[in-house]
């Protein structure tokens, strides 16, 4: 094992110390210091302390462990893994500060394990190491969802677990088949084609797409993200899908199918978001939509496509954290984030509104925010490969994103045309000052600063950290003018149709209906008709067994020798004896 201190392993193992630290302040200090240590280790790694990192696709190879016939490598340090690790740890720090007042130590332990395992999955070179760490991340995510403590969260946490076990199963199956065929266990470029010879790669892609939250296997995402713990689910939202897309970037760049899956995902999710009443579910659908951009960029596969995808992942982790923090502050303070129950909160939660809006503008791709400098790369990549349909659909998705995250959500949560919130919420609010806890505001400032800084000046360190050299210039007259005009007229349309984008107290079905209804039918069948059949069979078998036991003990009792029965039996025997005698006397 060469000298390198693995930041992911440090965070994961360090998590277990937390419950044993006595005073609350010590725990809170440790909670922040542990991921900061991880960040320092990443800075040392970047600086070349453990060895110089070569230009991409070259890598530094650390933590090489012999295992059976293979060598597991847990430290593939290249520009791609480093930029992912940096953003995971920095946003992890912000989220831990956001959740610092939570008294449940095990929530923090699960959060640190989730962050550490996600970072470890990024640095893993081998397929099995990657799957191992992704499974640890899945397991910790299930607990983070369950920490909400409601029946709904228990059920959705189980569904999250089910989906990710299935994804892990597909990934494992594909990996085993790949290793059997090629002998290589590396998470690297995989062959792609059509036919039985590529079955392993179909399985792997299905596994990655489920993890990435792609259409049509995306329904677990809004389900889990809207029912999880107020602060605990934030970690799940940031890391789980991006680790899946990381796998796609490594293994399937340039697969055209991904371009179409990505673009359909980007657009489809927005239609369902229009119908949403829950702020966290709406954010969940927007995460799915942005994942579509990333998958599309991977599918385009050109330098600009890959750069667009990776830069979009990095920016997305930052602004989606901010969006969900904004929704979570409303949920934490008022007890609800449903549009039908909120509104009129601006006077009481002013700062969180403006910080949220930075996230809303970033995800939409408004100039001067980080979404603009990343999303425009993917869109330009689609233009350069002369795909007008892909381009138009991605622009359509941009319009939809602006509609929901910059107009619908902030309007419905903080305004709705009223100065005061509903009475049941107003009693919980203090009249003066911002009602959002200070730690939450501080935590939101971290991604908000990054959104603006990266948007205003993307070249260093953001573009410099991307895998390939970036020649793309985001701020051109054409791009800035076009997107601004598009947003102006999006707002106009949204204003005219504003009554249609209000929340309604309903639930929107999604593709998981295809599994949940047959699943409920199967459970009903097993619980009712099948159990009834089993009980009846049991009863018959018990009666038959009882008869046999009675016959063995006392044939007379078994045969129920009552006088009529004896009389009938004797009559039958006499008749038979007479017939036999008559035949014998008469002859054949």
């Amino acid at each position: 094992m060469e000298a390198w201190i693995h930041p992911g392993v440090v965070i994961m193992l360090g998590a277990f110390l937390l419950p044993f630290l006595g005073p609350r302040k010590a725990k809170q200090t440790y909670l922040v210091l542990l991921p900061v240590t991880g960040l320092l280790l990443l800075l040392l790694t970047s600086s070349g302390f453990f060895g110089a990192i070569p230009a991409y696709p070259g890598a530094l190879h650390k933590w090489r462990l012999p295992f059976l016939h293979y060598t597991l490598e847990l430290g593939r340090i290249d520009k791609l893994s480093m930029i992912f690790a940096y953003v995971y740890v920095v946003i992890g720090i912000a989220m831990l500060i956001f959740a610092i007042r939570e008294k449940n130590d095990w929530e923090h332990v699960a959060a640190l394990i989730h962050i550490g395992s996600s970072v470890s999955a990024i640095f893993a070179r081998g397929l099995f190491s990657y799957i191992f760490f992704v499974e640890i991340a899945t397991w910790s995510a299930v607990f983070l969802i369950w920490f909400r403590g409601t029946q709904t969260s228990k059920a959705s946490g189980f569904r999250y677990f089910f989906w990710h076990v299935v994804a892990g199963g597909f990934l494992l199956a594909g990996s085993v088949m790949h290793v059997q065929t090629t002998g290589s266990i590396d998470l690297d470029l995989m062959p792609w084609g059509w036919g039985w010879a590529y079955a392993a790669y179909y399985f792997m892609m299905i596994g990655f797409l489920i993890d990435a939250g792609s259409f049509p296997v995306h329904a677990w995402l809004p389900d889990a993200y809207s029912t999880g713990g107020v602060t605990s689910v934030l970690y799940v939202t940031a890391f789980s899908t991006k680790t899946g897309i990381y796998g796609l970037v490594r293994c399937f760049p340039g697969v055209e199918l991904l371009m179409w899956i990505g673009v359909i995902t980007a657009v489809f999710a927005l239609f369902l978001a229009v119908l949403e009443n829950d702020a966290r579910r709406l954010c969940g659908y927007h995460i799915i939509s942005q994942d579509g951009y990333m998958i599309c960029g991977v599918g385009i596969g050109t330098y600009l496509g890959i750069l667009g995808s990776v830069s979009h992942i990095i920016c997305h982790i930052i602004y989606s954290c901010l969006l969900l923090m904004g929704a979570s502050t409303v949920l934490s303070v008022t007890g609800t984030c449903k549009f039908t129950n909120t509104g009129g909160l601006y006077k009481y939660m002013r700062i969180s509104f403006w910080l949220y809006l930075i996230g809303g503008f970033s995800i939409s791709g408004v100039p001067l925010f980080n979404g603009f400098v990343s999303k425009s790369m993917t869109i330009e990549a689609a233009e350069l490969i002369h795909q007008p349909l892909v381009y138009l659909l991605l622009e359509g998705a941009t319009v939809g994103t602006f509609l929901h995250t910059a107009i619908k959500l902030p309007w419905n949560l903080w305004f709705q045309g009223r100065d005061e919130p509903p009475a049941d919420i107003k009693v919980k609010l203090k009249a003066r000052g911002d009602n959002t806890p200070v730690n939450m505001l501080i935590a939101m400032c971290i991604p908000a600063f990054l959104c603006v800084f990266m948007g205003v000046y993307p070249y260093y360190p953001f573009y410099a950290m991307l895998p390939y050299p970036v020649e793309f210039v985001p701020y051109t007259t054409t791009r800035v003018f076009s997107i601004t005009q598009m947003f102006v007229f999006t707002f106009l349309a949204a204003w005219y149709l504003r009554t249609l984008i209000r929340g309604t107290p309903t639930y929107t079905l999604d593709s998981d209906w295809l599994g949940r209804i047959p699943g409920q039918a199967l459970v009903w069948f097993c619980r009712e008709p099948f159990m009834a059949f089993g009980a009846r069979l049991d009863k018959y078998m018990s009666e038959a067994a009882g008869l046999v036991i009675a016959a063995i003990r006392n044939p007379a009792v078994a045969l129920k020798m009552t006088p009529p029965a004896i009389g009938a039996g004797v009559t039958i025997v006499l008749i038979l004896f007479s017939l036999l005698t008559a035949f014998w006397i008469r002859g054949p």
Binding site: P388, V488, T490, A493
Partner: protein
Amino acid sequence: MKITQKLLFRLFYVFGVGGSLVVGWGLLYFDKLHYHFAFQYIPGFFAICGFVFCAILILGAKFLGIWLVRPVDYYAKRRKG
């Protein structure tokens, strides 16, 4: 001058809507815009894009909602039933 919603919308219509159309026409006239596809050079293309895509999204979603929108306890009711 008191900032009212009416004033804000007047400013939006004048500078936002009107301004973007005028600036767009000017940029096209002086050949300052460089696009990849021919249809992007249609005057007001992005304005039309923004308005039409937004309307399609909202109205299309409402149409889909005829089949997809259910009561909040849809799954819970079916489970108990």
